[in-house]
């Protein structure tokens, strides 16, 4: 156990699996596969495994995704880290190939591969292409691809081990806005399921559902609301495909109030799917969404920070829904 960042936790999982499996490869572009944390050895995948197995490439994320896909089809486990600027450059590769090849071949094709898709840090000032948070929806709509979005280092490590051991292709969304989260994470490998939401707080007044980059503000809001006496049940989706319907529906059956929180654009954000599943299964509940408006994020911090859902927004929306 040591304090580890998201990236250190992820690379620790990768390092362990690559040590076990001499065939496994890793393709990177901008972000050298290196991480350090006080008291633990520096992880440098490139140095440890050599440039035959771990290689950086030109700026061609579509090739990176295609490369690991082809490696997987040929029987080698493979993973790639796609920087956020390229996370839609490779979209078609996942949508039309990774997600469909098993079905199209009647089960002949097998793809034990992980696509780590960085989402922007949503840094104020970066604007549009460099501040958006939107790919959760695009990737979660793809069938045949498991799409997960961990929200803390502990889940990140466990889900990365699970993803690397999965015989299906996994889109592992990494909200780079979480890169500063640091917490105690076990040193040995462990698995965390890829299809289960996590209940972060139990309560009976309202269900709040969030995921990925939005979770820190959701958790902050949860504490604020609880300190004001509201019994909040807070769910972290963790997996977007498949979505853990049972956990959501059971909770909303109890609370009859569902608030979803997304940093993704409002229209067709993951919360829309969560609400739809609850509404199909629970009568008489009330629903509300908090999400980023249907607008690209402008550069000016004044505009951007006003638009991005935060704990205050969540608290106010929850009170409206419960009150």
């Amino acid at each position: 156990m040591a304090r580890k960042s998201f990236m250190y936790s992820v690379l620790e999982a990768v390092q362990h699996e690559m040590r076990q499996d001499p065939n496994m490869i890793w393709i990177f572009e901008l972000t050298a596969p290196v991480a350090s944390t006080p008291g633990r050895p520096v992880i440098n995948l490139e140095r440890e495994f050599g440039r035959k197995r771990v290689v950086n490439t030109g700026i061609d994320e579509n090739w990176m995704a295609g490369c690991v896909l082809g490696a997987g089809l040929a029987g080698s486990r493979a993973a790639t880290y796609i920087p956020y600027q390229g996370n839609c450059m490779c979209f078609q590769m996942l949508q039309n190939h990774a997600g469909k090849l098993r079905s199209m071949t009647g089960g002949d094709a097998e793809m034990p591969v992980v696509f780590i898709l960085e989402m922007t840090g949503q840094t104020p000032g970066f604007a549009g292409q460099h501040s958006d948070y939107e790919i959760d929806t695009y990737y979660a709509h793809i069938p045949g691809l498991k799409t997960v979005v961990p929200s803390n280092p502990t889940d990140a490590k466990g889900m990365m081990v699970s993803a690397l051991r999965d015989r299906n292709p996994v889109a592992f969304l990494y909200p780079a806005g979480l890169r500063d989260l640091i917490e105690d994470v076990p040193d040995e490998p462990y698995t965390t399921p890829l299809d289960k939401a996590a209940i972060r707080s139990e309560g009976s007044d309202i269900t709040i559902v969030g995921s990925g980059g939005g979770m820190p503000e959701v958790l902050k809001a949860t504490e604020l609301l609880k300190s004001q006496g509201m019994k909040v049940e807070t769910i972290d989706l963790r997996s977007l495909k498949p979505i853990d319907t049972a956990t959501i529906v059971n909770s909303v059956r109890k609370t009859k109030r569902l608030l979803t929180v997304d940093q993704s654009y409002y229209t067709l954000c993951p919360g829309a799917e969560v609400i739809a599943r609850a509404a199909e299964n629970v009568d008489g509940a009330r629903f509300k969404r908090v999400a980023f408006p249907d607008a690209p994020p402008p550069a000016a911090p004044e505009m951007f920070l006003w638009m991005r859902p935060n704990a205050d927004h969540i608290v106010a929306a929850a009170k409206k829904l419960v009150g």
Partner: protein, 405 residues
């Protein structure tokens, strides 16, 4: 200039001398507008270009001829079913005319041992020939084309996505572009794990203009991957001549940018194809990196299905749907049919005394019968169960039905 209609038809070209036959091909190439790289022409002028495929014994040569015939008759049987049986549900992007390419390439590959040992082949939307040459079971293929539950891919694939890992046939892919990129990924994995496999990617002239073409060759060259891009230039993508999308005559010249060999080869001559493939495979296995082979070839049918074709006859003529920007002229097709890969391989092997005409005919007859039997077997197979549509999305389990609300 007449098309071969049937195995029993006596073809006078059987009696030609091989040298004369070779000259005919060369004239044919010039006449039909195909090009041969200067390098090869110079080699030909010297008279020694490995044309004789000295490393191949009679069995292997006969196997190549047999492969050509099996592809030809798989397809002709399929075409005839499409033309004569209204209830036949299969379809095909016919490969007829291009058989020597797949037969020649696969003869240079290891075709057994599954994905960890066999050489791997990535195919296109026009997969029958590539698959048969790689060793895929034709009965299961025929059943798959009819969407049968016992088909090669249980009815999920149809023609356009057949795959069979067991022989290293990584699958057809209906998209133009991504396939070659994915294929380089397999080559990367092979290099990383140090196995001796090579990866062959087939692609048409249509793949040249895709952005993926550049990614594929650039990364294969940079990383010295065991990768061979066999570009079958049959002059058209759908109904557009390749000059609409490619500024140069020989696509193989694109190899120069990446500093890798770019080879133009007569795709109608299985021995020439074999020689080029063999050299590329050796290079790849030796860790020397990729090769781009451009095979000049032609398809006798239209892009898809059998429009314009007649039952029992070879090729499709006269189909010219409304408003096609550059529909191929019939005389172009007839010129190419006069350099038929079946005829060329047959007369070459007869001239080399590898077999005689009787043996050649017998092989053809057997191939024809095999395919008739395969399609008959396929007909009788069970259709898919509707609910099975929820399977094979993930390795495990099945997804929920959602169509009922």
């Amino acid at each position: 200039m007449t098309a071969r209609h049937d195995v029993l038809e006596k073809d006078s070209r059987d009696r030609r001398e091989p040298a004369a036959t070779r000259r005919t091909f060369l004239r044919g190439i010039a006449g039909a507008g195909a090009a041969v790289s200067l390098g090869s022409q110079a080699a030909w002028a010297d008279g020694e270009i490995g044309f004789w495929a000295k490393d191949l014994g009679p069995d292997q040569l006969i196997h190549m001829y047999t492969t050509i015939q099996r592809i030809r008759w798989f397809e002709r049987t399929c075409a005839d079913k499409m033309l004569t049986e209204p209830n036949y549900r299969g379809y095909n992007h016919f490969y007829v005319g291009q058989e020597a390419v797949a037969a020649g390439v696969s003869a240079a590959l290891k075709n057994t041992g599954g994905i960890m040992e066999a050489d791997l082949v990535y195919s296109t939307h026009r997969p029958s020939g590539h698959a048969i040459a790689k060793g895929v079971d034709v009965r299961k293929m025929a059943a798959e084309y009819e969407f049968k539950a016992t088909g090669l891919n249980k009815g999920y694939a149809g023609e356009m996505h057949i795959a069979d890992k067991s022989v290293g046939f990584m699958g057809a892919d209906g998209m133009i572009g991504p396939g070659p990129v994915i294929a380089t990924g397999s080559a990367f994995a092979i290099r990383a794990r140090g196995s001796k496999q090579v990866v062959v990617n087939y692609g048409g002239d249509g793949t040249y203009a895709t952005p993926h073409f550049h990614s594929t060759l650039n990364n294969a060259a940079l990383l010295k991957l065991p990768f061979i891009y066999v570009l079958e230039n049959n002059l058209y993508h759908q109904y557009a001549h390749y000059s609409y999308s490619c500024p140069m005559k020989d696509i193989a010249v694109a190899a120069k940018t990446y500093g890798i060999p770019g080879v133009v080869v007569d795709g109608q001559d299985v021995v020439q194809v074999y020689n080029a493939a063999k050299e590329a495979v050796e290079r790849a296995r030796a860790g020397e990196g990729p090769t781009l082979i451009e095979a000049k070839t032609y398809r006798y049918y239209n892009h898809w299905g059998a429009p314009g074709a007649k039952p029992g006859e070879l090729g499709a003529f006269g189909y010219d749907p409304l408003a096609i920007t550059s529909f191929r002229p019939e005389r172009e097709l007839r010129a190419w049919m006069s350099r038929d890969p079946v005829d060329i391989s047959r007369s070459t092997l007869i001239a080399w005394k590898v077999f005689d005409r009787a043996k050649a005919d017998a092989i053809e007859a057997a191939a024809k019968q095999e395919m008739i039997d395969a399609f008959a077997w396929a007909d009788k197979q069970p259709t898919a169960k509707p609910e099975d549509g929820l399977k094979h999305v993930f390795v495990e389990g099945e997804v929920a039905a959602r169509q009922f609300g």
